[in-house]
Structures are given as C-alpha cells and as structure tokens.
C-alpha cells in the first residue's frame, strides 16, 4: 500500500461524498446489514449441518439424479427364436447386436420358450426369424421377420421399436442395394445441438436449476425460522433494524454460498457427466444469480408462514413438487393437459430451464432467451418485494 497525497485526497473526497449521500437512517442501514451478514457467516461456518446441506447435498443430488434421470436405454435383453439357422439369419442377429441397444443373450427354440421368457421378464423383446429366411433373401422375395416387444414400460418399448425397425430397414436396404439399384425417397435426419440424443445433456443443465432452487429456498427459510424457534429473533426485532436490512442481511450470505454451489454443480456437470457448456459461462452465472435471488425470496416467504424448522422443510418440499413436474424438468410441457400447462406459466423454474438448456446445450446468447429472461426477472423482483412486505418485524 502506497499512501500518496493524491490517494488520500481522493479517499477524503470520496468519504465526504459518501457521507453526504448517506445521511441519517440511510447511513445506519449499511452497517446494520453488514452486521447481520457477518453474524450469518459465523453461523454458517460453525454449523456442520448447514455446511453439509450447502456443500454435500448438491453433490449427492447431482450424482444421484444425474444417473437416475437418464432415459437412454441400451443393452435391452432380447430373446432370439431363429427358425432358419443359416448364415443370413446369423448376419441379421449380429446386426441387432451391433447396435448396442440389444443384448442377444437368450436363444430359444420354441414359441413357448419365448413367451415364457417374456412373461417372466427375462427379456424385454424377442426377434423371430422364420424358416426359409435365407432362401427368401437370396431369391429377393419379401420375407417377414417378427419383433415382439414387451409394452409394459413404454419408454423401453419405444426404444426397442425404433431401434428394431431401424436395424431391420438398414438390413433390408443393404440387401436391396446389393441386388439392384433404383431411385426412391429417403429421409436423412440431421440432429442438432445434441447429436447423440443423450439424455444426460438434457437433464444435467435442468438439474443445475433445480438443485439451486431447492437449496436456496431451504437454507434461507431454515435460517430465519431457526432464529424464531431459538428466540433470538425476539432480541433482533427489539432493535432498530429494519425488515429490509434483515432480509438483505439474511440473503446475501446465502447468495454467496449458493454461488459456490452453482460452481460445484457446474463442475460436476462438466467433468463428471461430461456435459460441456456451449454458451457463455458469464451469461449463465449472471442469470443464475438472478434466479437465486428469486429462490431466496421464496425461502423468506416460507419463513413467514412456518413456525418450526420442520414446517419450513415441509413447505420447501411442497414448492419443489410443482417445480419438478410443471417446469419441463422431467416431462415435456407440450404433452400436458391445458390446465397444467397454464399453471406451469407461474413456475419460475420453467423459464430457468429454458435459459439453462439454451445456454448449455444450444450455446445461445441473450437474444433467443430474452423473453424467458424478462419473465424470470419480473418474477424475481415480485417475489422479493412480496417477501419483504410479508416479513413483519413483530411477534404474532
């Protein structure tokens, strides 16, 4: 530190300006808010439970949900009923095996055995190759190959169907091309943003939004309700601290800790699950901060309604339910009945997910997500305002 005369003149001038700006109550607002922030930091770093909640839970949630939420299906057990036992039938079976979707481990010799394997859930699908398959292929006459699918789990069934049909068509095309050449219409798909159609790439960014909301909401509401439970709130409200100072002092430390969470979640997403962030990291962090403020506001609102920490916990979980089901986190909103779709418009996470997925998967800038950003911004301001208003500085 060099203390030049110019420097001290500058600080002198600055402090005069600050003093003039901060007169009376306003001047006392900042030290009071800082006092609460400082105290809150001490609480956080001294309480093992809070630290666990802040640092460990997001990691566990990410890893657990990251794996559980995968909807990619591979290695589906498939039975094979090969009636032909020829070189051609073996080629077909190998083609199915090569896709990686199927695990052709169970060869059955009769329809009865196939039904039994399906009934008992040993396999999810079966491939039925008729007698005379090779002969038909060689003579270029049409032949039907059976694909039996267990439809109990639609997700699995859909994958089997799509992969099965594709494999069959590819085989057929190869066969046809080998014999004659002729024109026709062929659809050539080209998949953007997530060419591997990997569900991880879709789920992980959404998880970032969800984990942040969950934590920010829970941790702030708990910290406020705890003070009320322990009776320390009574000693606070008897001081000249104003509600806005209390709200700011309570949220700012958690915004900072939530940011550490955000980085944690980003690191896990990038390095553990290998989901790269295609867009601007800065934009992502900035918008996440905005979303965090709104989530903290929800936490404060919960704290005004809850009397005990358990109640706060319960209410926190309750706000999580619509966030999971009506935000497009698990189920596409397009498929929902109109009533649920209308409700989903007031779920803030809905907009956040569009934003995060846009930035992470598509690498978009502010332009394409401007509407969502604006709506989310309005939401956050509203939530914070309502929570500050509802936050009364008196006992009931």
């Amino acid at each position: 530190m060099i203390d030049t005369p110019a420097g001290s003149a500058y600080t002198g001038l600055r402090s005069v300006c600050i003093r003039r700006f901060l007169t009376g109550e306003r001047a006392r607002m900042i030290p009071r808010t800082l006092a609460i922030i400082r105290k809150e930091f001490l609480h956080i770093i001294r309480d093992r439970n809070t630290l666990i909640l802040i640092f460990l839970i997001p990691m566990i949630q990410m890893v657990l949900l990251g794996y559980a939420a995968r909807t990619d299906i591979d290695n589906i057990a498939m039975a094979v009923l090969d009636g032909d036992h020829s070189a051609a039938s073996r080629r077909l079976i190998q083609a199915f095996d090569a896709t990686g979707y199927f695990d052709m481990q169970r060869y059955v010799s009769s329809e009865q055995a196939m039904t039994d394997a399906l009934d008992r859930g040993l396999v999810r699908a079966a491939l039925v190759i008729p007698v005379g398959y090779e002969a038909a292929v060689l003579s270029s006459t049409p032949v039907e190959v059976g694909l039996v699918v267990d439809g109990s789990d639609p997700t699995v069934a859909n994958t089997v169907l799509a992969a099965g049909l594709q494999t069959g068509q590819a085989q057929s095309r190869a066969q046809v091309a080998a014999t004659i050449r002729r024109g026709g219409i062929e659809v050539r798909p080209s998949i953007w943003y997530n060419p591997g159609l990997e569900s991880v790439n879709y789920m992980i960014p959404a998880l970032m939004g969800m984990v942040l909301q969950f934590l920010a909401t829970l941790v702030t509401s708990l910290s406020i309700v705890r003070e009320r439970e322990l009776g320390t709130m009574e000693q606070i409200i008897v001081t000249p601290i104003r509600p806005i100072e209390l709200v700011l002092g309570k949220t700012i430390p958690y915004i900072l800790f939530s940011f550490i969470d955000l980085l944690e979640v980003l690191l896990i997403g990038t390095f553990w699950f290998g989901v790269p962030i295609k867009g601007s990291l800065l934009l992502l962090l900035g918008l996440s901060a905005m979303f965090l403020v709104g989530s903290l506001g929800i936490g404060i609102m919960i704290s005004t309604a809850a009397h005990t920490q358990q109640e706060a916990m319960l209410l926190g979980m309750l706000t999580l339910v619509p966030s999971i089901f009506l935000s497009g986190f698990l189920f596409p909103l397009e498929a929902m009945p109109w009533l649920l779709r209308i409700i989903s418009y007031v779920v803030p996470l809905r907009y956040m997910l569009v934003i995060v997925r846009g930035i992470v998967i598509k690498g978009v800038g502010l332009g394409p997500i401007a509407l969502e950003v604006a709506i989310l911004g309005v939401f956050c301001i509203l939530i914070l305002m309502v929570s500050a208003l509802r936050f009364r500085k008196s006992l009931e």
């Binding site: 009071r32 006092a35 105290k39 001294r46 309480d47 009776g231 001081t239 000249p240 104003r242 009931e396």
Partner: protein, 320 residues
C-alpha cells in the same frame, strides 16, 4: 442526571390505557392501566401465566395490543414502534443471544446493530464486560456460559446503546443466589444512573428491592404500590410455628375466631391474627384440643410473600 426530584410534574415514561392482548381465547393482558415515572424500578410480579412477559413485549413495541394503547418515552407503541426501539433495552425471559457466537462476537454484533461506533465503542464494550464480570470469558461461546453469566451477557448486550428504559423479563430465574445478588447490585447502580427499569420476577424478596411493585394475576394488575404500602395492606399480624400435623392444623385453624388467614410455607404455618396475644392463646387452645403439637411459635414481620398470597386469595374468592 437524576437530581430532579420534582418528577411529579413530568410526563410518565410509560403510560398505558386499557391495554389488552388476547391469544385466541386466552386473555393474556386484560385492561392494563399502568404509569411508570422516570427513574423508577418497577417490579412486575405474579405467578406463571399471569401475563408479565406479554406486558413487557407490548411495552417494548414488539407485539401489537388487541385493544388499548401504550405510550413509551412519548411515542405510541403501535404508530411509532421504531422510535421506541432506539430508547429501550429489552432482555427476554429465555436466553436469546447467539449460542454459537462468542461473548465478544455477541456484544460486537449488538454494538454494530445499534450503531455504536468510534471511540465510545471500545470503551463501552470494555466497561460493560467488566460490569458484567465477563472480561475473562471473551472468547467463550455464549452457549457454554453458566446460566448466571448468560443473563449478565444478555444485560451487557441490552445496555450497549445506553438505553434510558430497560425491560428485564425474569432476569434472575434459574440463576444461583450469589449471581442473583450481583445482578441486583448491577440494577441498583443502573437505577442510580437514572435508568427507568421494569423488571418481572417470581421472587418476592426481589420485589422488595423495587421502588414500586405491581401484582399481576390472570392478566390483571390487582395491586400496584410501594413495597411498604403493600405489606401494610395485611390486616392484623402474623404468627409462625411448626405444627405436628400441618394438614389437620390448617383445617381446624380456619374455623378459629380471630384467625383471618392461614398459609403454608414448607412445614411451617403462617397464621394471620387480629391480635398477637389473644391469637396465640386461641391457636394453642384449638390445636391442643385436637392433640396437635406446636413448636417454634414466633410473631413475624409480614413480608411481600404473605401480602401477595393474601391478595391473590382474596382475588380468587371475589372472582368466584
């Protein structure tokens, strides 16, 4: 500071009119009319659930009354709550400082919150810690202090902004006798500095140290006067003795003419009589006939304790 003796003309520091607070069906405070003058040590006594804590909360402007009004330091507790908060110190009944923060951190926090800065800050913190005899425990977490030390730390934090009105809710409950004494010495020295104190206590001997005492019972202020005058309310005189069979003795004595009241104190009985000599003779006669022995008979000065039990009993009888 408090040399002005003509406080009679001055507006009271606390002035309530028909103050009432209900919780659902419970009437915690019922039509309280109370005035406290500057520099008083006002003691609010009464059994558990009488409404003492609720009165202090109403006066501290942290709870809204259901009806009536209270003026504290010239400000209305509902309209002008924040102005009152600058002037008062309030110590809650249960320990309400941060247990995970050290003594020093707690007191620093309240100094920050009340905007105590500059040179005064360090001096005041030092003075209060010395005053509370906590200088050797600065680094200790508040949760690890003894009950008495916790109360003294609470008082130190309450005094950091030098309030001129102090509300203390049962500051000596759960505190050992030595600390209790120390605590009252501290209060006395605050009193001499001109601080107005409203203190609640379940201990009658502490009520004797107040300049004025209010007795609360079921939300109502049933008596409010100086300790001497309250003691003077007791009709007649009091005899204390150890009876052979306390239960039977009580029943018998209720019907003896000249005995107005009988109270139990542990194994002892306190009997209120119109005249000492004739009362003593009547007691010996009645219990002698019943074959109940009497020992350690002596006349005693009626204390606050006897006075209050007597007042509450009369209240109960008229209430029925």
């Amino acid at each position: 500071m408090n040399s002005d003796t003509s406080t009679g003309g001055e507006a009271p520091v606390i002035d309530t009119h028909g103050l009432r607070r209900v919780f659902g069906k419970t009437v915690a405070v019922d039509g309280l009319d109370l005035t406290v003058k500057r520099g008083e040590v006002f003691g609010l006594v009464g059994p558990d659930g009488a409404g003492k804590t609720t009165v202090l909360r109403l006066l501290a402007a942290i709870m809204k009354p259901s009806a009536g009004s209270a003026i504290v330091a010239g400000h209305d507790t509902v309209q002008d709550a924040e102005a009152i908060k600058e002037r008062i110190g309030y110590m809650a009944q249960i320990f309400s400082l941060y247990r995970d923060l050290s003594v020093q951190e707690n007191i620093n926090f309240f100094a920050d919150v009340y905007g105590v800065t500059g040179e005064a800050r360090q001096q005041r913190i030092e003075r209060l810690l010395t005053f509370a005899r906590l200088t050797g425990f600065r680094e200790r977490r508040a949760g690890r202090l003894s009950g008495g030390m916790q109360k003294k730390l609470g008082l130190a934090c309450t005094l950091i902004h030098e309030p001129d009105i102090l509300y203390l809710d049962e500051p000596t409950t759960g505190v050992d006798p030595v600390s209790r004494r120390e605590f009252w010495d501290i209060l006395t020295s605050l009193h001499t500095q001109g601080v107005t104190i409203v203190v609640t206590t379940p201990y009658m001997d502490e009520a004797e140290r107040c300049s004025r005492v209010g007795l609360m019972y079921r939300g109502r202020l049933i008596e409010c006067d100086t300790p001497e005058r309250i003691r003077g309310r007791i009709p007649g005189q009091v005899l204390e003795f150890l009876p052979g069979d306390r239960h039977r003795a009580r029943t018998i004595l209720h019907h003896v003419p000249g005995v107005s009241e009988v109270q139990s104190f542990g194994e002892l009985l306190h009997v209120f009589v119109e005249d000492l000599a004739s009362g003593e003779a009547a007691i010996y006669k009645a219990l002698g006939e019943a074959g109940i022995s009497i020992s350690a008979m002596r006349p005693i000065e009626p204390r606050m304790e006897e006075a209050f039990i007597s007042l509450i009993r009369r209240q109960e009888e008229t209430g029925k």
